[in-house]
Symmetry: C2
Subunit: 281 residues, 2 copies
């Protein structure tokens, strides 16, 4: 693992790191914020999965999470959203919603994407690396994300029962098997057999019996993707029927941008910290 940069921020260290990934067959870059803490102490870890077109850098620069993480004693990890590099295939049409910057947190089975687009396995590989190299407590983890990354947070949370004390999202894609973004991506990465898609769809996972302890979702009412791509109503219905405690906050006037995310980031982190126990200081 190579240190790309470290900067002191809010008394902690905001780092950016690069490592060769066996999951993707490429170098991968991610960021980690570690707040100031007593030597030898471990801290809860919050995973933040980003949305379409993003790298680790978007939330790192615009997410405004460091003040709250420093106050609450949370490690904040931001992975990239796809493999990258000269030999990594992209959408042949170069669109923003498939290929580079759009890995959808799945392991692709369709060539040519199956060689590198293994972002679900990459998440596990990165988890191992992070707990090996940073003072995270694996028994206290939360996962959150934005848009495509909200999809990632929900589906990974639902797929690993017991791992995450809490799951939250900003404007998540909740049912990719039912919306244009998701159908394009899942068909491209997983092929035409829709049965294989269900384990990468939060609503379908819940319908099929998957559970998480608690979910918080913020959704802007002026989000341009709300009715066609995001459909929080589908998550609301699925959680109601499954008895999963979902807090869905429709935030009047907010859009899909980091201005929206940053406005409610501290709320989410406080909510996670209350369920993670915070740092034992």
């Amino acid at each position: 693992m190579e240190e790309v940069s470290t900067n002191l921020a809010f008394g902690g260290v905001q780092g950016v790191y690069r490592h060769p990934s066996s999951a993707t067959g490429t170098d991968m870059t991610f960021s980690v914020f570690v707040p100031a803490h007593p030597a030898g102490q471990t801290l809860p870890v919050v995973w933040f999965l980003s949305g379409l077109t993003c790298t680790h850098a978007n939330v790192t620069e615009k997410g405004e999470y460091r003040r709250a993480c420093a106050e609450l004693g949370l490690i904040f990890v931001a992975p990239d959203t796809s493999p990258r590099g000269q030999n990594v295939p992209d959408d042949p049409l170069g669109s923003y919603d498939f290929g580079l910057g759009a890995g959808y947190y799945v392991d692709a089975t369709e060539p040519p994407f199956s060689a590198n687009y293994r972002m679900r396995s990459y998440f596990e590989e990165l988890s191992t690396l992070v707990f090996d190299r940073f003072p995270g407590d694996p028994s206290r983890q939360a996962i959150m994300g934005h848009s495509m990354g909200g999809h990632g947070a929900l589906t990974i949370g639902l797929s690993e029962p017991g791992r995450f004390q809490s799951v939250s999202a900003f404007a998540p894609i909740v049912a990719p098997t039912q919306v244009p973004w998701g159908i394009k991506a899942l068909r491209g990465y997983l092929g035409h057999d829709r049965a294989t898609w269900r384990s990468h769809d939060a609503v379908a996972l819940i319908e099929d019996g998957a559970r998480v302890p608690v979910i918080l979702v913020d959704q802007g009412t002026d989000d341009q993707f709300l009715t066609e791509q995001l459909r929080p109503d589908l998550l609301e219905n699925a959680c109601r029927e499954a008895g999963i405690p979902l807090t869905l906050r429709r935030q009047a006037g907010y859009d899909h941008s980091y201005y929206f995310i940053s406005s409610f980031m501290a709320d989410h982190l406080r909510w996670h910290a209350a369920r993670l126990g915070g740092a034992a200081r």
Copy 2:
């Protein structure tokens, strides 16, 4: 004035605007955050002048000022750092510290820069525009900046007695007539007669009798530009001799980046708000 974008953030509106400037002879872009406030109420205004290479966008995206401005009821304005456009001359060598992105908040007198690089006059033009179009209270103003913009905040603050209740800076260039960055810029914009430079040098202005009510400066001790370009000790000495109350905080381990700025942005805004009276709500 044209609206480039507006986004709801922390209950207020983060806008980006463009307007034709008579001072620079170009279109200029700037950002304004207006917090939620009762209709008809005016709010104090904080001017943020950015550093070398920046546009309005750097602090707008990375400055983390919106939460504090929303809480404190402060309008936050971020101008660009130079004229821009096809016909605007740049440093012939394309260096980062002169020309585009490096206007130094002076009115150039040397050709070819004198036609467009009139950033001191532009600040006044923008002030008029902002108070005309946004609910700012001209009797309650603060000015702050970073690096070259810290130089701008200090020199404009010192040049307009009575206008600003408070002046603050992150890692400012305090004595451009004495450091390489400043000497290059002032010579390039103002010519070889150093007598004309003194009114654009905070330390010289103080030596020549200019005063502001109070100054707050944060300076990272690991700032790569500290000893050669920034020299806060020169400001410290000048303020001590002049009796200007300066709070100079040497922040251990911090660098010159927005990670440093964002860490202490809320501190500065609270400090300004205490002197501006805040919104009367």
